[in-house]
């Protein structure tokens, strides 16, 4: 599968760019912000972690830029990001991995759901051209896709939590509860996830509905769809296998490109809801000038996005035989 290998290469390249940016940006900023940060570590952590941070931020090292860079790359590959200031003295990797499941559960599930639902609605809407779905929905979704995520989050808190009291307004779980794999906890976590999930879903789904609808309309105009009708195939099959499978292909690549917006939205939503995921922790680290943690989280976000894109590429390769034949 040449195609997938090529995409993997792209994955590695982009990751490398992100890592290099992590390395370069603090060095390029005026005022040496890292120096101030370093002072807060002194004497409180083990030398290895200290050294890792020094390398990452270029403080108190006597090595050349290139050597620092190489060492830094090595550290990154081994997961040595240093120690977090916010959750002192946890190593960064520990905190990062703690936040990850929350985000995967909330953002991951919701995004996939939004994509699948959006694609489905777009497909059906375009299939029934001129129907209610097709004429009423697009303008509505054009507007909802322009909503700022955080505003919708605030609105939903106000409405569903404060006014109506149906759902909790913040956190990933009730702090009086014990964390663990119990049904009670799971139910509680679910309750806390509803509002943030709804916010993300409503805002993200619009774009995918619209593009799937446009794709489907142009696919429906293709000869092979007319041929399928001419063959007297069951309309569901025509819509699904002939129109749908072809219209979804550009949507999958579009998925990759719109992930940036979803990430931005997820960060803001977690912030507003105080939901203990990667985005929330990321902003905490920024507030606390906990650069080590921030860098680790940034890389995690990049890896997650790239993985999602890679998954979409694999799906494209599976669905479209023409990609497999590309030499």
């Amino acid at each position: 599968m040449r195609f997938v290998l090529r995409r993997l290469g792209f994955f590695v390249l982009t990751l490398w760019v992100a890592i290099t940016l992590n390395f370069l940006i603090p060095r390029l900023m005026p005022g040496s912000p890292a120096v101030a940060m370093m002072a807060r570590y002194r004497g409180h952590i083990n030398p290895q972690a200290l050294h890792a941070i020094q390398i990452a931020f270029g403080v108190n090292t006597h090595e050349s830029l290139l050597r620092s860079y190489v060492t830094y790359l090595g550290n990154v590959l081994h997961g040595r990001f240093g120690v977090s200031l916010t959750f002192f003295p946890d190593p960064v990797t520990h905190d990062v991995l703690q936040a990850l499941p929350w985000t995967l559960a909330l953002v991951g599930v919701t995004t996939v759901l939004a994509f699948m639902l959006g694609t489905l609605i777009g497909l059906v809407g375009a299939w029934r051209r001129g129907g209610l779905m097709d004429s009423a929905l697009p303008p509505i979704f054009v507007i909802t896709s322009a909503f700022p995520y955080f505003w919708l989050a605030i609105l939903s808190i106000w409405l569903f939590s404060l006014k109506l009291g149906w759902l909790p307004q913040s956190g990933g779980y009730d702090v009086t509860d014990t964390v663990g794999w119990t049904w009670g906890f799971a139910g509680d976590a679910l309750k806390h996830a509803v509002l943030p999930a709804m916010t993300i879903l409503i805002t993200a789904i619009g774009g995918w509905i619209l593009t799937m609808r446009n794709n489907t309309i142009s696919v429906l105009a293709e000869d092979y769809v007319r041929m399928a009708r001419a063959k007297g195939l069951n309309p569901w099959r025509v819509m699904w296998t002939y129109a749908g499978r072809n219209a979804i292909l550009p949507n999958l690549t579009g998925f990759a490109m719109s992930l940036g917006f979803v990430v931005a939205g997820a960060i803001l939503v977690e912030y507003v809801f105080n939901y203990p995921g990667v985005g929330w922790m990321f902003l905490q680290s920024v507030e606390n000038q906990d650069y080590a943690l921030m860098q680790g989280l940034f890389l995690l976000i990049v890896v997650t996005v790239l993985t999602a894109i890679l998954a979409a590429d694999v799906a494209t390769a599976l669905l479209d035989p023409r990609t497999r034949d590309q030499r």
């Binding site: 700022p148 995520y149 106000w158 550009p250 920024v286 650069y291 990049v302 990609t323």
Partner: protein, 654 residues
């Protein structure tokens, strides 16, 4: 092409060939046209109105806002009142004034980032697309990397290091990171434009590359550039608001995002003052919505396919000249198809157009009927109307007439019954197999489709039949497992014909199935079709623009002009003694290989505009034998020795 960042119909730098992006052809001309189009489109109007309101707010804040937005002189946390339209903030500032003054910053950010990002996108995208080669490879790679890197976290990282990022930094960073989406789309469109001859023409003319990019390429991409701008502006509004909300912008600046920041900081919801958060949020949403609406509306205006037009039947002429054929009834013996008085119309911006005008024809069992005509005569529309397959991209609805096939009127049949008849009794062969075969299914899967829809065969039986039909057209059955793009052009066409014969239908309709092939392959395919027809006994309706192609194969020839039947004769008759001046003209327009070399004339002029068809004979303006009575009244079909012709010169009492 929508450049909304929330979706894309474009592909990554190494794309599979999917449905092409719906790139819009620029229709210039009077700005009045565009203005009218905008006025008609509700979304565009909404978008423009919103934008204008905000523009006014941003240009004249002092005149509209009642108070100084920063003045903390009022009692804090007031509700809505006459003096304070939206109440006051936690610090005693008037919210409404803040909103109005905040417009300026938000709008400036949107427009500045939009401009910067668009400029970069155009620069990178068009250069990559036009210059190609290594430049393209490099630029595309850079574009893709930036596209994929999550920008919001990256900006947060940058802002984290640099405290109090100023307005300029914000604009520059947003602009420098936000061009990649637009660049991809511009590159894609440039690539598709490269194949357009006018670019090559400019190059051959000797124009410099820079001239070509600036003066030949960019003007044709104005709609895409505008779309890119709107998309970038939307992205800027939302991202900037998000950053300011987080407190990463200058918290003392006047903007909606900062208002939200302070609202959050002062726990607007708990303080029972939701308006602190709702008001600026609504403004952000509305500004964003205005860009999104304009973007979407622009799409619709430039890609007519996206719009749904209703056919105004009331405007159609329903009068019809006296019928030429005896009164219709059931399909007579020996006739496999009988079309009576069939009319097809479709909606255009200029009103309804009748593409097929009261056409009658009858087809005997096993007969080969060729329908000949030039572009716009309605032959393909007629063909697909008979098969009840109208719809995008061949628009149209049947607005009158009957299609008698196997004792039933196809026009009146329900979809379900139609489907039962399809392929078993009536199958279709289209012009381009590359387009007519589903690119993601193998040949055998597509045959299986048809089989399963109409018969209860087992998998083994299906395979046997599939192999059989492939052998009929001399294709090695090993190709059953190939995808369409893996077969050669001629093989694909023949595979399509094979598929049409799976159930040995009574009637096969063919829409120019040979025009994508070269002359030698055309000839052999025609011979093959004829042999199959004689072997299996199906009738054929064959649409073509090339009369000589069918001269040895068709039993009768129907010549169409401007949606009407001009002449219908046995083939040999038509070639030896063409009755209608149009048929004569057509025959005279084909230079011959053998025989004397004479100067030909063709038929100067063009067919009439069917949106406003002329009275009387539609060929009159181009006819060398025209008389005044030609345009006086509608010309009916006359019968002359077993041929039908619509011409006053041969007029008989019907």
């Amino acid at each position: 092409m929508s450049a909304s960042p929330l979706g894309a119909t474009d592909q990554l730098a190494t794309p599979p060939a999917g449905p092409a992006p719906m790139v819009a052809e620029v229709r210039p001309g009077r700005g009045g046209d565009l203005w009218r189009a905008i006025r008609r489109n509700k979304k565009a109007v909404a978008g423009v109105v919103l934008l204008v309101v905000f523009l006014v707010f941003s240009i004249f804040p002092g005149q509209i806002a009642p108070y100084d937005p920063t003045a903390e002189i009022f009692p804090p946390a007031l509700g809505v009142s006459r003096h304070h339209l939206l109440g006051t903030t936690a610090y005693g500032q008037d919210i409404f004034s803040q909103l109005v003054w905040g417009t300026r910053l938000s709008l400036v950010i949107a427009l500045a980032v939009g401009g910067l990002a668009t400029a970069l996108a155009v620069l990178v995208g068009v250069s990559a697309g036009y210059l190609g080669g290594a430049t393209d490879g490099f630029l595309s790679l850079v574009t893709d990397v930036i596209l994929v890197l999550p920008i919001f976290p990256l900006i947060i990282v940058i802002a984290a290091y640099e405290q109090n990022a100023g307005f300029l930094t914000l604009v520059v960073v947003l602009g420098v990171l936000g061009w990649s989406y637009g660049a991809r789309q511009l590159r894609a469109q440039t690539l598709s434009l490269r194949r357009r001859d006018f670019l090559e023409a400019a190059q051959v003319r000797g124009e410099r590359k820079s001239y070509v990019i600036l003066n030949e390429i960019l003007p044709t991409m104005t709609s895409l550039i505008v779309a890119t701008f709107l998309g970038a502006a939307l992205y800027a509004v939302l991202t900037a608001a998000g950053l300011q909300f987080l407190g990463l912008g200058d918290p003392n600046s006047q903007s909606w995002g900062t208002m939200l920041y302070w609202a959050q900081n002062n726990e607007a919801l708990f303080a029972g003052m939701p308006l602190w958060a709702i008001a600026p949020g609504v403004c952000i949403a509305l500004l964003g919505a205005s860009f999104a609406l304009l973007n979407y509306a622009f799409d619709e205006i430039s890609s007519p396919a996206l719009r749904v037009r209703k056919l105004e039947r009331a405007k159609l002429q329903t009068a019809r000249p006296t019928p030429a054929l005896p009164s219709p009834g059931e399909t007579s013996d020996g006739a496999v198809l009988r079309v009576e008085d069939l009319s097809v119309a479709y909606a255009t911006d200029a009103g309804p157009v009748v593409a097929v005008d009261h056409v009658d024809l009858e087809l005997a069992r096993g007969e080969f009927l060729a329908i000949v005509g030039e572009s716009g005569c309605g032959k393909s529309t007629l063909l697909y109307a008979i098969a009840r397959l109208l719809g995008s991209p061949l628009p149209g609805e049947i607005v009158g007439g009957r299609v008698q096939f196997q004792g039933k009127d196809l026009v009146l049949l329900e979809e379900k019954e139609l489907r039962r008849m399809r392929w078993r009794d009536l199958s279709v062969v289209m012009q381009s197999a590359m387009n007519a075969l589903n690119p993601v299914l193998t040949v055998s899967q597509q045959m299986e489709d048809a089989c399963r829809a109409h018969a209860n065969w087992s998998k083994a039986e299906i395979e046997v039949r599939s192999r059989e039909v492939l052998r009929l057209v001399s294709i090695d059955p090993v190709h059953l497992n190939s995808y369409p793009h893996q077969l050669s052009g001629g093989m694909r066409q023949r595979a399509m014909i094979a598929m049409a014969l799976l159930f040995t239908p009574d009637l096969v309709i063919m829409d120019e199935p040979t025009s994508a092939l070269d002359v030698v392959a055309q000839r052999s395919l025609m011979v093959q079709i004829k042999e199959l027809q004689e072997q299996l006994g199906f009738a054929v309706i064959f649409v073509t623009h090339d009369m000589s192609l069918v001269s040895h194969f068709s039993d009768r020839l129907l010549v169409m002009y401007a949606g009407q039947v001009a002449e219908l004769s046995p083939t040999k008759e038509l070639f030896d003694r063409p009755l209608h001046p149009y048929s004569q003209g057509l025959l005279g327009a084909f230079p011959s290989i053998h025989g004397p070399k004479v100067r030909l004339l063709g038929i100067p002029g063009s067919p009439p505009d069917l949106a406003h068809p002329p009275t009387g004979c539609r060929f009159a303006p181009r006819c060398p034998q025209v008389e005044p009575r030609c345009t006086a009244a509608e010309v009916p079909l006359s019968t002359v020795n077993g041929s039908l012709v619509r011409c006053v010169l041969h007029e008989t009492g019907t």
